[in-house]
Amino acid sequence: MKISREDVERVAELAYLDLTEAELESYRQQIDDILEYIGKLDELDTTNVAPMAQVLADDQTADATLREDVVVPCRVTPEILEQAPDPEPPYFRVPKVIER
């Protein structure tokens, strides 16, 4: 067994995700199967392989990723706030965070 019920509970907590009892058990089993399958990567010796941290080659991004740091005003603030479940323009309101 690759993953325990406690692992799933801990991970769900890290991800701020409420799971039901039924979900906890079915995910544990399914993710265990998936991790078992993923284990086949251990067949490959990757000691001297550099991880692929980005998709594009350097010559495809060098000119694209660097730009002047220019301030551009955002003109859609009211529309953005309209989408919030509990807006208090110009803020988003959330439940109380600090208890005292």
Binding site: V11, L17, Y27, L44, K96
Partner: protein, 478 residues
């Protein structure tokens, strides 16, 4: 029912045989008739479509030249933002979300004259291979309505295949354009990573997500890709590499083109019907004068494992934004933390939660090296397989999917079995190269099969060139 093409629409408009408004109305009529059975569209943007159609009709009246997609009715996958038009990602968590801006791809389509008909159904946050993970019900395959259209861009594929749009946009993270294209019997393309701006594409896995077109023929795929491709300052991973005129480039002859056939894509697990059609497709390529070569791509068998580490890891991070604060669903609680947990627990569907849990796990302390880092290393090996292959051949040809469209409900019980349906598409996703599915006959005259063509990074023109020649040679009716 007329099958419209992009050029056909422009010519009919210019000759005043039809107005853009009449054409849009005709497509809405088709949608009203067919969509209740197919569930391909989630939302229609009639107001916006008719306003654009009227602009095109005014251009026609003034005798000014018409832009390349003038009046062309197009559908947009619901993970791509459309200003003032509800965009749900097939999720309950964004049920009422209305984006305040357009994705760059959508903006470019409209600037080229396209008429955006509406938003198409998809697996929730593009996570799925059958469209059965949509919170708004599955899409049915227009070719066989007891079967899935493929996923995750099932609605975009079904809309075009059923004649409810001339072209559409989908997104591909592990096969989500190519596989539904294959299942619904239409050409479908994912350009190179960096070819089309992702600005406004609601993120699933940022190093893999790509926007691309579906259409009824390779030429229209090329014309649509040309419009949406190119550098966008709002996406730092979109490249400055020039965009060729794909429509002209694809007319070049394919005689002598070096086509690689990787042995690893023809192993166990492939449906016999698919195998026969693909073999017939390869025979046709020979007759067309292509130079076929068997090649090896040694790490193919590790692609699914690698993909489901990297894609879920990125998803767990990208989907952290759904917190009930700035947009989407909120489930109230007096504590902030409990509000987050309840909102996410209630708003996300089963597959999305499964992937968030898996993705969080592979990134968590103690497992990062064993899974995520290992995955990134194997990803490098898979990308190297492609680079090595393209020193010997111009394009690579494989099946798009090991199986034809399966029946609704047939694969939902076992997520791993569903993941394995992506076995031939995820490789190109990990490598960042362009890939396209083109129709390659139908099993028993009923279930479409797709032939997949990969090209080197930014080699879309070669992929389209072969796709076009294959189509002209009768590939679809093998």
């Amino acid at each position: 029912m007329t099958t419209w093409t992009i050029d056909g629409v422009r010519e009919a408009l210019a000759a005043k045989k039809v107005s853009a408004r009449e054409l849009a109305a005709d497509f809405y009529k088709r949608i009203a008739e067919r969509n209740p059975a197919l569930n391909a569209y989630l939302m229609l943007s009639e107001e916006r479509a008719y306003a654009q159609a009227d602009r095109i009709d005014a251009l026609v009246a003034s005798g000014k030249p018409l832009p390349e997609l003038a009046g062309v009715p197009i559908a947009i996958k619901d993970v791509i933002s459309t200003k003032s038009v509800r965009t749900t990602c097939g999720s309950k968590i964004l049920e009422h979300y209305v984006p305040p801006y357009d994705a760059t791809a959508v903006e470019r389509l409209e600037a080229a004259g396209a008429v955006i008909l509406g938003k198409t159904n998809c697996d929730e946050f593009a996570m799925g291979s059958s469209n059965e993970n949509s919170a708004y019900g599955p899409v049915r395959n227009p070719e066989a309505t007891d079967r899935v259209p493929g996923g995750s861009s099932g609605g975009s594929a079904a809309a075009v295949a059923a004649g409810l749009a001339v072209a559409s946009l989908g997104t591909d993270t592990g096969g989500s354009i190519r596989q539904p294209g294959s299942f619904c019997g239409i050409p479908a393309m994912m350009g190179s990573y960096g070819r089309v701006s992702r600005y406004g594409l609601i993120a699933f896995a940022s190093s893999l997500d790509r926007i691309g077109p579906f259409a009824t023929n390779a030429r229209d795929v090329a014309a649509t890709l040309k419009v949406i491709a190119g550098r966008d300052s709002n996406d730092s991973t979109s490249t400055t590499a020039p965009v060729p005129d794909y429509v002209t480039a694809m007319e070049r002859p394919v005689k002598g083109m070096r086509v690689g056939i990787p042995k690893e894509y023809f192993g166990e697990g492939m449906d016999d019907g698919v195998r026969k059609k693909i073999e017939a497709g390869i025979e046709l390529l020979k007759k067309m004068g292509c130079q076929l070569q068997e090649i090896h791509m040694a790490h193919t068998d590790y692609a699914i494992a690698t993909y489901y580490i990297i894609a879920t890891a990125e998803a767990s991070s990208n989907l952290a934004r759904y917190d009930g604060v700035r947009y989407g669903l909120r489930v109230d609680d007096s504590s902030l933390l409990a509000m987050y947990c309840k909102t996410r627990g209630a708003g996300f569907g089963a597959e999305v939660k499964r992937r968030i849990v898996l993705g969080t796990y592979v990134l968590s302390a103690g497992y990062y090296d064993a899974y995520y880092l290992k995955g990134q290393k194997v990803r490098a090996l898979i990308a190297q397989d492609f680079r090595d292959a393209f020193t010997k051949v111009d394009v690579i040809v494989t099946p798009t999917s090991p199986v034809p469209a399966f029946k609704l409900g047939e694969r939902t019980a076992d997520p791993l079995q569903m993941y394995l349906a992506d076995i031939y598409t995820v490789t190109g996703s990990l490598a960042g190269v362009p890939g396209m599915s083109v129709p390659c006959g139908k099993i028993c005259g009923k279930l479409p099969v797709g032939l997949q063509i990969f090209g080197p990074a930014f080699g879309e023109a070669s992929v389209l060139q072969l796709a076009h020649a294959f189509e002209q040679a009768g590939g679809a009716s093998l």
